[in-house]
C-alpha cells in the first residue's frame, strides 16, 4: 500500500478561555478537543475527502497538515518526512510541497495584487528562475486553468473577475509549484451550482497532469461523491467511518453517516424521503459524552455506547467504522 500521506493520531486541543475567578475556582484546564486523534493515509495521486458538519474538526485537520494551525500532538508524514515537527526555515522551504486552495475566492486573493502576480508569487517566494520566466510560467498556468487569453487575464485585479474565475486563479497559484499535496478547503461551496462541476473537473484534470494528491475538506456530501476516491466522515473531532467512495455511498454503516446521507436533498420528486434524524443537538465539545461521542443522538444507541469508546475497526477491505452496532444492509442507495 502506497502511503504517500500518512496522518497519525493528529490532535488539536484549544484551551478554553476562562475568567480569572473561574480559573481560581477550577483546578484543571478545559480544552476544546477540536481534533482528537485522527489517523488516515492517502495514496499518491488519489483524492481523499474529510467530510463532516461544522465542528467536526475537518478544516482544522486540513490546516494542521499544512501547518497553518499548530498540532497539539501527532505526526504528518508526507512522502516519509514528518511535517508536523518541522520548524523555521526548513518548514518555510518545505511549504512548496504542500499547498492550499481556500474556500472563499473573494477573500483568498490580495485585492491590490494583479492576479498574474498572485499566480507567480509562489515562484518568486521560493526563488525560482527569473522575472520573465516566472511570468511565462504564470501565463502557462493561467492557460491551463482555463483563463484565456492568459496575457489579458494576467493584468486583471480580483475585483474584475467572477467568483468562478477567481477560484481558478487560486487553483493556478496552488499548483504552480507542482506541490506533492494539495489541500482544498470547500473549494466550490461559494461557487454557483451550475459552475461547480467545471471547477471539480479542472481539479481532476490537473491532478492527472501534475500527479497531484488531494485532500478535500467539505461538508457537502454530494460534492464529495463527485470527486473522491476515499471518504472519511468526521464527527466531533474523530473519524467515525472511512471507506472508498463506492462503499461509503452504497453501504454506509455508521449511524451518523446514515443520518448525514439521508439528510442530503435529492432532486427527484419521487424520492420518498426516509430521513433518519439524530436526536437533539451536537454535544459539548469541551466535555464530550463518555464512550461514543455520537451516542446521545444516535437512533441505534445502546447502554454500552455510553460507557466504552468505539475505535475505528476494519469491517471489510478498505472500509472501517467506529461503532459497536454498525448498521449494514439499510438499502438506502442505488448503485
Amino acid at each position: 500500500m502506497n502511503e504517500f500521506v500518512k496522518v497519525v493520531s493528529l490532535k488539536k486541543y484549544f484551551p478554553v478561555q476562562k475568567g480569572a475567578l473561574e480559573r481560581l475556582a477550577s483546578r484543571t484546564r478545559d480544552y476544546v478537543r477540536a481534533v482528537d486523534g485522527v489517523t488516515f493515509t492517502i495514496e499518491k495521486g488519489r483524492v481523499m475527502t474529510l467530510a463532516g458538519e461544522s465542528g467536526s474538526g475537518k478544516t482544522t485537520t486540513g490546516k494542521m497538515i499544512l501547518r497553518l494551525v499548530e498540532p497539539t500532538e501527532g505526526h504528518v508524514f508526507l512522502g516519509g518526512t514528518d511535517v508536523a515537527s518541522m520548524k523555521g526555515e526548513t518548514l518555510r522551504k518545505y511549504r512548496r510541497r504542500m499547498q492550499m486552495i481556500f474556500q472563499d475566492p473573494y477573500a483568498s486573493l490580495d485585492p491590490r495584487q494583479k492576479i498574474g502576480d498572485a499566480v507567480s508569487e509562489p515562484l518568486r517566494v521560493h526563488g525560482i528562475s527569473n522575472s520573465s520566466e516566472r511570468r511565462q510560467l504564470a501565463i502557462q498556468m493561467l492557460q491551463k486553468v482555463g483563463l484565456t487569453p492568459p496575457d489579458d487575464f494576467f493584468n486583471l485585479y480580483p475585483r474584475n473577475m467572477s467568483g468562478g474565475q477567481r477560484q481558478r486563479v487560486a487553483i493556478a497559484r496552488a499548483i504552480i509549484l507542482h506541490p506533492d499535496l494539495v489541500v482544498a478547503d470547500e473549494p466550490v461551496s461559494m461557487i454557483d451550482v451550475s459552475l461547480r462541476a467545471s471547477i471539480l473537473e479542472l481539479m481532476l484534470k490537473l491532478k492527472a497532469e501534475f500527479d497531484l494528491t488531494y485532500l478535500f475538506v467539505t461538508h457537502d456530501l454530494a460534492v464529495a461523491k463527485e470527486i473522491s476516491d476515499t471518504v472519511a466522515i468526521m464527527y466531533m473531532g474523530e473519524i467515525v467511518e472511512i471507506a472508498s467512495k463506492e462503499e461509503l455511498y452504497t453501504k454506509p454503516t455508521h449511524p451518523y453517516t446514515i443520518c448525514l446521507l439521508s439528510a442530503v436533498p435529492v432532486p427527484d420528486p419521487d424520492n420518498v424521503s426516509h430521513r433518519i434524524v439524530p436526536k437533539g443537538e451536537i454535544s459539548s465539545v469541551v466535555h464530550p459524552p463518555p464512550g461514543c461521542r455520537f451516542n446521545p443522538r444516535c437512533p441505534f444507541a445502546q447502554a454500552v455506547c455510553n460507557e466504552k469508546h468505539p475505535d475505528l475497526q476494519e469491517m471489510r477491505e478498505g472500509h472501517s467504522v467506529a461503532c459497536f452496532f454498525p448498521q449494514e444492509n439499510n438499502g438506502l442507495i442505488d448503485p
Partner: protein
C-alpha cells in the same frame, strides 16, 4: 484632449461622496502653496525688513497693512506660507517614517514586541499635543529643524496606533493566510501585502495629520518656540499682534489667523475627502 483629461480625472477621482471635499481641499492647499512658491513675484517687499511706517492699516500700498516693526504683512503672509509648509510637511513626514514601520511590526508580530512598543507609544500619546511639542521644543531649543522634530515626535504615536490597528485587521484576512501558506517570508508579507493595503489609510492619516500639525506649529511659534524672528511665521505674527487688538489694530492678528485656519481647513477637507473616497 479634454476627453482624455476628463477620463483620467474620473479614474483618479471617481464620482462619489469624497470627490467634492478632495477638490475643495486641494484647491485651498494648492492656492496657498502657489502663493508661497511665487511669493517673490507677488510682492516687492522683503518680509524681514521694514517696508514703511509701522502700524499702517490695510491700504493700497500695503494690502494687509504693516506690523509694529513696519514689516509688510502681506509679504509676511506669503513667505510665511513657506515656513509653515516646510516645517509641517517635514515633521509629518518624519512622524510617518518613524511611526509606520513600528506600527507594522508591532501589529504583525504581536507578543512582547507589540506590548512594549504600545506602552511606549501610549505614554507619549497621552500628552496633549501642543504641551508635548512645547516641552520638546524647550528641550531642543529654537530653530526650524528642532521645531520640526518636536512636532514629529508628537505625531509618531498617531501613526503607530493607526497603522498597528490596520495591520491587526489585515493580518487576519484570508489572503494573508494564503500567502503565508505559500511559504512567504515575513518581510514579503509585510511589505508586499500588508503595506499596499494600508497605503490608502496612510494617505488619509497623513493629510489629517498635517492639518493638526499646522495648528501645533502655529501654537509653537505663538510661544516663540519655533523659528526665530524675523523669519516670517504666522504664529509669531499672531502673538505679536495680539496685544494691539483692543486698540483697534485688527489687521495684525486677523490675517495670520485667517491663513492658519485656511490652511488647516484645506488639509482637513482633503483628508476627509480622501477618507470617503478610500472607504469601501
Amino acid at each position: 484632449m479634454t476627453l482624455e483629461f476628463s477620463r483620467l480625472f474620473s479614474r483618479v477621482l471617481p464620482k462619489g461622496q469624497g470627490r467634492g471635499l478632495v477638490i475643495a481641499g486641494s484647491a485651498i492647499v494648492g492656492f496657498i502653496v502657489f502663493l508661497a512658491i511665487f511669493a517673490p513675484f507677488l510682492t516687492a517687499y522683503d518680509p524681514t525688513h521694514p517696508a514703511g511706517l509701522s502700524m499702517v492699516p490695510p491700504s493700497a500700498d500695503h494690502p494687509m497693512g504693516t506690523n509694529t516693526l513696519g514689516f509688510d504683512l502681506y509679504s509676511r503672509m506669503l513667505y510665511g506660507g513657506r515656513t509653515i509648509l516646510i516645517v509641517v510637511l517635514f515633521s509629518t513626514f518624519l512622524s510617518m517614517i518613524c511611526g509606520m514601520p513600528l506600527g507594522l511590526l508591532s501589529g504583525y508580530l504581536g507578543g512582547v514586541v507589540d506590548r512594549s512598543l504600545s506602552v511606549v507609544m501610549d505614554s507619549i500619546y497621552v500628552f496633549p499635543g501642543l504641551i508635548l511639542a512645547i516641552a520638546m521644543a524647550a528641550v531642543l531649543g529654537p530653530g526650524i529643524t528642532n521645531a520640526a522634530v518636536a512636532i514629529a515626535i508628537v505625531y509618531i504615536p498617531t501613526y503607530f496606533r493607526m497603522i498597528r490597528g490596520h495591520t491587526l485587521s489585515i493580518k487576519e484576512q484570508r489572503y494573508i493566510e494564503a500567502v503565508r501558506s505559500i511559504g512567504a517570508k515575513t518581510r514579503t508579507i509585510l511589505f508586499g501585502h500588508i503595506l499596499p493595503n494600508i497605503l490608502p489609510t496612510l494617505i488619509v492619516i497623513f493629510s489629517l495629520n498635517v492639518a493638526d500639525a499646522i495648528l501645533t506649529e502655529a501654537g509653537l511659534s505663538f510661544f516663540g518656540l519655533s523659528v526665530p524672528a524675523p523669519t516670517p511665521d504666522w504664529g509669531y505674527d499672531l502673538r505679536a499682534g495680539q496685544p494691539f487688538l483692543p486698540s483697534g489694530s485688527w489687521w495684525l492678528i486677523t490675517f495670520p489667523g485667517l491663513m492658519i485656519i485656511l490652511l488647516a481647513i484645506g488639509f482637513s477637507l482633503l483628508g476627509d475627502g480622501l477618507n470617503e473616497m478610500t472607504s469601501p
